[in-house]
Symmetry: C2
Subunit: 244 residues, 2 copies
């Protein structure tokens, strides 16, 4: 009948939108990665649950689309925004294999926006969002995007900066960024945005390569104007500078 | 006492988060651009209001910080996310001129995420967000960012694609993008995201320069993999392609 691909925001709690909450209330079946189902199952106790482990993305979306094609009202839950490295595109792709169903995407607060709010205001000018995971993207393409964005003085937001199998990827990314950005460029890291144990740190680009990051960390690299105001990472939009 | 810089999401209604709504309920004084105050004043009827017209951003933030320094609980309301071309950075900058106050940023659904959900799933791979407004940024810098992002095959999301004084800026941007992206690259425009009269259209990059856009439109330009699936703009993340 219908699949709603729903963004929970960073923690699945107060940062969820009213529209996301209403969609979860309306659905019969919640489908998602186990950790995301765990974030919401207590808030929506009377739902049927279908959770699968990591790397089972295609199975999960097929199950959701199959249930909808069989007449059920389904919500695929994603952390953050399903449209940013989430399941939204895969649901559309998989649905081509089945009879027509209705699909809607309900946006959520993605880690770029949620993490920026914790750090201060790093993204108030042009920015680029790049995932450092090379599971689905050749590393050469990631390198080209890092270099292109750094050369054009974008603020950068990096998702998936490290994992157990990729402990040195942030260091490799920093080496590329340092060819185009000054070593004193202000950077920030946020871990567990909107969840218990949320932590945020500022450092310079020269120091960022050695920062402790993992798969729960989002990384921000400033542009040439970004600065530290009382411990916050702030990229001026230019209003005050226009006033002179 | 405290300034909360609050994102209303695209329409100030169902896409607002629980945290944003709670912050507006707690505050005494709502400060913002007239059009954004109008979006929420009926939902929070017992608040004092301070609204100012366009281009009064610095005055607005000074008034908010002054009221907080005088002991009041203030919310600065922004459409979308205050951290993306919003007031978050300016509040931090202006607050340096006053005695210390507490500042918090409460993120909202920005037009990139809200518009993407309307179009389908264009942002499910690396993307760059660029404002075409040259009120605060030299056009040469905007051009360099368009070229850098296009050359590295980012999906692009363009804010402020046109205004009465800049009717041809999207055309100028497309001319730059066409040096690096194929003319058949899938593009999309969304107007009045989450508001009455919301409209979405798909076209090619060759056609985008002639598309009807205004200051209420957000523009999306696909990467080399973005495609039209049953009228939706979808950028594959690569899960199905990995399956082979």
């Amino acid at each position: 009948m219908k699949v709603s691909v729903v963004g929970l925001g960073p923690g699945g709690g107060a940062d969820m939108t009213g529209r996301a909450r209403a969609a979860l209330e309306r659905c019969e079946l919640l489908v998602g990665y186990t950790a995301y189902i765990d974030l919401v199952k207590d808030q929506f106790p009377d739902k049927e649950l279908l959770s699968t482990g990591m790397r089972r993305e295609v199975d999960r979306c097929r199950a959701a689309v199959e249930a909808a094609a069989a007449g059920r009202r389904v919500a695929v839950v994603c952390s953050g925004d399903p449209g940013v490295y989430g399941m939204a595109s895969l649901v559309y792709e998989v649905a081509q294999e089945y009879p027509p169903i209705e699909i809607e995407v309900i946006p959520g607060i993605t880690a770029a926006c949620g993490g920026a709010a914790v750090l201060g205001a790093p993204l108030t000018h042009d920015f680029a969002v790049i995932s450092l995971s090379d599971l689905l993207t050749p590393w050469e393409k990631i390198e080209a995007r890092l270099a292109g964005a750094a050369a054009a003085d974008f603020v950068l937001c990096l998702y998936n900066p490290a994992s157990r199998s990729r402990p040195d990827y942030l260091k490799r990314a920093c080496d590329i960024l340092l060819r185009h950005k000054a070593p004193e460029t202000l950077c920030g890291t946020v871990r567990s945005i909107g969840r218990p144990g949320e932590t945020a740190r500022l450092c310079t680009l020269a120091e960022l390569g050695e920062a402790e990051v993992d798969m729960f960390t989002t990384v921000f690299v400033g542009n040439s104007q970004t600065r530290n105001i009382n411990g916050k990472m702030v990229t001026p939009r230019g209003y005050l500078q226009r006033e002179g």
